[in-house]
Symmetry: C2
DNA sequence: TGTTCTACCGTAAACGTTTACGAGAACACA
DNA sequence: TGTGTTCTCGTAAACGTTTACGGTAGAACA
């Protein structure tokens, strides 16, 4: 069924070595011979067997992205990831690499899945997302010397891997600044586990900004929930029952905001009217919500492209000129003012 | 760095053949020898090289899911897919198979990407989603004899592949029935391209039900948009400008409903109050929207598991007992009544 | 004519597995 | 003693590539 390099060689009456060289564009093959090989490859519908190729070369020409399940969140924060993956894949494809997305079983934090990819050498490098403050995956990969890059920062590991992150701290701070400048002083924060690094960063910015404005941080105005609609919904009432109600609330992301707004609505509190709402990570959902939610929009697709570039530059096999290795970048989160604050 | 089967053999002073047999649980190896091999594998941190294995066996032990980009929709309808993929991956993992998700470049309808996967034999089978009425991918795969399964039906290809679909026709019909029973007679439909088979099915049910109730289908109440927030938003006003306004609207899915409701809000029309709203494919978003949207909830994760099972049963290499091959299933879409209708 | 160089190509090994085949040893049985 | 059986293991080929190495033919040059 599938034609191999041997079939081509037999068909053309030349050796497999020559066929391979012709296909791979090596110099030491006659121009006419090369053309004949290329033609034959086309007519015989030849395409190289990836297993054979990667066995010989020791490289799979593919990059794995670990799709991270999160306890309590069946949805993986995917409106966030898909545009990122689009950019990632586009840039990788330019260099002839495939992107494979590896799904983990929910709840195991990918350790098992990651091991599998690494140990069976299914990919030449991996891309991690939703980095945690102390991320065992990073430790594991650095220890094994397996190439990787991360979307998000972490305290773990050396500094010898490419990472790209958003400036959640500044966004948290900017959100507070904006609300304070509009007269708010009781500002709630609905956040995920602080274990997730972006949650930690968001809250750092939030706290710093409050202190800067001479506002005491009130633990009663801070609540932790899963990063999805249910999380925001469950947690919002607790904050609103604070003896001194907040007049504004910052949500970590759109899904939590949606759930939170639902809870508010059920309490008869109108977002954007009775309470100001800002979300840190904006997605299309925010724009079409009523009221449209003010948020910080990440440039996800360019980020995907960029991280791919950084990763590629860090791989010896695909690296460009030496010294072009970029290690860490933090991208701004741009405020999109809408109706909710 | 990576230890091979040869390292094990050398370390234990036995042949690689024996090592391989011990590892693969074959019968013709002494119990004690097997134990020694297993121990050595553990201490030397051995795990089999996937490339070598699949080269030899002609099977990659992995299934590819083609993540379908849709023109105008950067988001791939992913809240829909992720739970499905979770189920798919869980069932595949049970049989020791990996799930790899292949991203296509947006806009190319995956033909290029699919070819790549098939021709380089990166996976043993593929799973297609968002099947079109006439789906060239299905034609391509059947023609090449490459195993696959589909989430969704199609007119294309033979009937010799496993497929699992939701009963969109019944849901469309049920939605109309429900609305009519509540006194509505002018019922709008916001749908995607009819080329997408689920859009076609939805509309078939919609039309049939209307006719059954003696209601004429008004083309002015039907509008086509991209399957995302922007699509619903752009298209909704046109329908509302119909000379005889609809009193109810059925959206294909949550994202379109969100956009549509935004447009309604801007026109001063309150969903669930001034106009009834039902969505065909329900996701968590519907539940937490205000008003909570009535919709039809698919059992996505079980569907993923089921389709994996069907696919596995159809593969000679992994098949269970003969005759257990299930070919096509259509699952019900269960109505979840909420506030919007 | 003899030597050297270049262009092109064939040979064969190697990557890490699995597996068909056969061999040796131990044992049973006649 | 001869034959057959069973258990265990080693040998070597094969999967489809890539690539180091060497060889041949012709051209160039003295």
């Amino acid at each position: 069924m599938a034609s191999s390099i041997h079939d081509l060689a037999r068909h053309l009456n030349i050796s497999i070595g020559t066929v391979s060289r012709a296909l791979n564009g090596r110099a030491d093959v006659n121009a006419e011979t090369r053309q004949r090989v290329l033609d034959a490859a086309r007519t015989l519908n030849y395409s190289p067997n990836q297993s054979g190729r990667s066995l010989r070369q020791g490289a799979t020409r593919s990059i794995a992205f670990m799709l991270q399940p999160h306890p309590g969140d069946q949805q993986y924060g995917e409106p966030f990831f898909i545009p990122f993956l689009t950019g990632l894949q586009a840039r990788l494809a330019e260099s002839g690499l495939d992107l494979i997305v590896v799904m983990g079983a929910p709840g195991d934090y990918q350790q098992e899945r990651l091991r599998r990819v690494v140990e069976t050498r299914r990919a030449d490098a991996v891309v991690l997302a939703w980095t945690r403050r102390d991320d065992e995956r990073i430790d594991y990969l650095t220890e094994r010397g397996f190439p990787f890059a991360t979307l998000g920062r972490s305290r773990s590991g050396g500094k010898s891997y490419p990472s790209l992150d958003l400036d959640f701290e500044k966004a948290g701070s900017d959100a507070v600044d904006r609300l304070v400048s509009r007269g708010h002083r009781r500002i709630a924060a609905i956040r995920p586990s602080l274990d997730l690094n972006f949650g930690h960063l968001f809250m750092t910015g939030y706290r710093k900004a409050l202190r800067r404005h001479g506002i005491e941080v009130d633990p009663g105005l801070i609540a932790e929930g899963f990063i999805n609609e249910a999380g925001g919904y469950q947690v919002m009432p607790r904050v609103m029952l604070s003896k001194d109600r907040p007049t504004a609330v910052i949500f970590n992301n759109d899904a939590m905001a949606l759930g939170g707004c639902k809870a508010l609505a059920e309490m008869g509190i109108r977002p954007g009217h009775d309470i100001a709402v800002i979300v840190i990570v904006d997605t299309p959902l925010c724009r079409y919500f009523s009221p449209a939610l003010t948020g910080f929009r990440p440039a996800l697709e360019p980020m995907g492209q960029r991280l791919a570039e950084m990763l590629l530059a860090s791989l010896p096999a695909y690296a460009g000129p030496e010294g072009t290795r970029i290690m860490r970048e933090v991208w701004p989160l741009e405020l999109v003012a809408r109706e909710s604050d």
